[in-house]
């Protein structure tokens, strides 16, 4: 069979035009995030991406997951190339997330906040971090986590503790009762430096109050000159020496959790994500939760954000995806997959599970937040903060000298 030459030419031209048009329409956005903590989060994310792609023909969302350190390293490498992500995960606040914003790697998103009315969509406590940076609004809230004290109800009962501590003194009294009953009050994992740090952060808020605590964490006040800072290290030492399950420096937080599950200690200072882990262990009924009694009006917690890269070639599509991810129907459908509460304030909660109800009460009971030390300090100061906390915890440094030691490092690093 002979095909006329002009038909072949026409077909070739048509294929070229069609191919070009398809290439122009096909848009890929790369999203770099952390490894998901559990399979349900992974499945939820895959399902959300599929639905978004179905609703946006020609758009592909490619997710790359990494461990925390690998993710940070990958972002640094990407900073020097054009092959980086369109959207990247990072923590909110001036510490870890702020580093990328400060370096110009995140795109100001004021335009998208106005277009998608995000200011009206998110919980104020989660949203506030986007406004901390000079030069605009950066990042979109992804999750918001609070941290509080989980306790083993049976061990509290055994020690004769009849109600949840409402003040710091009551918490110490509870720890003393537990110690008398031969039960270590807390379990912590010391190999991951940030675990014991949580207790120090809470004690610092308790001893110094919100204003001084913030001044210390932003390094505007001198640690050496604030007696409350020294008192906080002293208190930390009291807890680590008298009320911790020992040994704790040679185990990590997951081993610590297993010991908590096994009833080896009465309390654990953990985030709302622990509810999922307790659910997985089928032990929800054995534990309850109460906020660390700092005496203040701020909840200990942190937000995680997704930022659009300043190098993204498709920032509009990236913003459209983030809008979809944080939309009310999507957040409602995947409630609990990424955290106990959603950052979307229009989501409705129906669970009657006591721990989830307790967490909702905790989230609703505070005016503001204070973040973990490793998200407030620059990275080098965080590393020194951990070293000093661990030295105090292992009796290698006099607690009274600890605040001065930290201040010396801060002064040198400025």
């Amino acid at each position: 069979m002979r095909v006329p030459t002009q038909w072949l030419r026409f077909a070739s031209a048509a294929a070229l035009v069609l191919g070009g048009a398809m290439a122009a329409q096909a848009q890929e956005i790369k999203l770099w995030t952390l490894n998901f903590a559990n399979d349900s989060a992974n499945q939820a994310f895959q399902s959300i991406i599929k639905q978004f792609q179905d609703a946006n023909p020609g758009v592909t969302v490619k997710v790359e997951n990494r461990g925390v350190d690998e993710h940070k390293s990958a972002l640094r490498v990407a900073a020097g190339s054009d092959q980086g992500p369109d959207i990247f995960f990072s923590w909110a606040g001036l510490g870890l997330g702020g580093e990328f914003v400060k370096s110009g790697l995140a795109l100001p998103m004021d335009k998208y906040y106005a277009e998608y009315k995000w200011d009206d969509r998110f919980l104020p406590v989660a949203l506030t971090f986007s406004k901390q940076y000079p030069g605009g609004q950066f990042g979109v809230p992804y999750t918001f986590h609070g941290e509080a004290i989980y306790y083993n109800k049976a061990l509290f009962q055994k020690a004769g503790i009849t109600s949840e501590p409402k003040t710091y003194d009551e918490l110490v009294a509870a720890a003393e009762k537990l110690a008398k009953a031969g039960i270590p009050a807390f379990t912590f994992g010391g190999t991951v430096n940030w675990h014991v740090m949580r207790l120090m952060d809470e004690i610092l808020e308790t001893e110094c109050g919100a204003e001084k605590h913030d001044a210390l964490m932003t390094m505007k006040a001198s640690w050496a000159e604030e007696p409350c800072a020294t008192k906080a290290f002293d208190e930390l030492h009291r807890w680590t020496s008298k009320y911790f399950l020992k040994p704790f420096m040679g185990i990590d937080q997951s081993q610590s959790f297993n010991l908590f599950l096994a009833g080896r200690a009465a309390m654990m200072l953990e985030g709302d994500w622990l509810v999922g882990q307790l659910k997985g262990a089928n032990r929800l009924a054995d534990f309850a939760v109460f906020p660390f009694p700092t005496g203040g009006k701020r909840l200990y917690g942190f937000a995680e954000y997704n930022y659009i890269s300043s190098k993204s070639k498709n920032p509009d599509v990236a913003a459209r995806f983030l809008d979809y991810l944080e939309s009310t129907p999507v957040q409602q459908a995947h409630l609990g997959d990424f955290g106990t509460i959603s950052v979307n304030k229009d989501v409705k909660y129906t669970s009657t599970e006591p721990l989830e109800v307790a967490w909702r009460a905790i989230f609703g009971g505070y005016d503001g937040t204070f973040v973990n030390g490793d998200q407030a300090f620059p990275l080098n100061v965080t590393t020194e903060y951990w070293r000093i906390i661990n030295q105090v915890a292992t009796d290698s440094l006099d607690p009274k000298a600890a605040a001065g030691e930290l201040q010396k490092f801060i002064a040198n690093s400025k």
Partner: protein
């Protein structure tokens, strides 16, 4: 038509690809790190800022962990030069005898060498677990609870606990090199010395040991180099903790650059480590060569 190439040219041609790769992946990064040690750069901004010797001043006078890392690295190196080679040497002497099961035993002792250090770290971390680990469980079973330790969490014990894991892994390396050396010792010389009335100790002292000098040099040099750059096992077992008490120079350089984003500080530590390595290895190599020439 045939092209005649002189032997030196042929050598250079054959060497060129490897030399190119070496220059690109070893020499250039080394020079770049040296240059970076005079810069301030966070790995994110497009430009690095020249700061002269500021990074070195910071490392030597303001870094609270640097001197701890130096002490640990020196101690680790001294222990690495003594224990694994000594144990490897003793094992090599034993396995050089005609004993039953010699070949499987050689393989058994060499096996840990082929395991990735990070896997070794994981295995030993499990064994050192203070609550469920092999060592504390065994001590408990034997009624020796008083000896139980937080092996990797006690700053007075952690470095030595890690070192035992390192010995377990590296002793096979020394063993193989010493075995190869022992098999090259001339049997004629040994027999001649015995005919001359030498006992076992004299044979060992005056025949075997001198013949093993090249093996001993190689083992010691490689032990020094490997111990100075100790990284994986520390990273995997303690991450430098508790409270940076097991920190090493190589890991601290990595931490500063790749985790804290202070590339200038990390590069300065790397340069210090390089200088320490060079200052130990080059004099030893020169001494060894001179000694060999004067006592062939």
């Amino acid at each position: 038509m045939s092209i005649r190439i002189s032997a030196p040219t042929q050598g250079l041609v054959l060497l060129a690809p490897a030399l190119l790769v070496y220059c690109v992946f070893a020499v250039y990064p080394m020079l770049d790190v040296a240059a970076l040690s005079f810069m301030k750069w966070n790995g994110l901004s497009p430009n690095a800022q020249f700061v002269g010797l500021a990074n070195y001043v910071q490392v030597f006078t303001q870094d609270p962990v640097f001197w701890q890392a130096v002490r640990n690295t020196v101690l680790w190196t001294v222990m690495s030069v003594i224990f694994p080679p000594a144990i490897g040497f003793a094992l090599a002497l034993a396995l050089n005898q005609n004993i039953p099961g010699r070949s499987p035993l050689r393989a058994l002792f060499y096996l840990p060498v082929i395991i990735a250090p990070i896997a070794v770290a994981t295995i030993w971390r499990w064994m050192y677990d203070p609550f469920f680990g092999l060592f504390n469980a065994t001590l408990t079973a034997l009624g020796l609870q008083g000896l139980i330790k937080d092996w990797l969490g006690d700053r007075n014990v952690a470095l030595y606990a890690m070192f035992i894991a390192s010995v377990w892994q590296t002793v096979g390396f020394s063993l193989v090199l010493f075995l190869a050396g022992l098999q090259n010792v001339s049997q004629t010389l040994i027999e001649a010395s015995r005919i001359d009335g030498a006992g076992r100790f004299e044979v060992f002292r005056y025949v075997t040991l001198p013949a093993l000098r090249p093996s001993i040099t190689i083992v010691l040099i490689l032990s020094i180099i490997n111990s100075l750059k100790a990284f994986d096992i520390v990273y995997g077992m303690t991450g430098g903790g508790p409270a940076q008490s097991t920190q090493m120079l190589a890991l601290w350089a990595f931490t500063q650059a790749m985790q804290l984003g202070d590339f200038g500080h990390g590069a300065a530590i790397s340069v210090v480590l390089l200088l320490i390595t060079i200052s130990i290895v080059i004099p030893y190599l020169r001494w060894s060569r001179t000694h060999r020439e004067t006592n062939p």
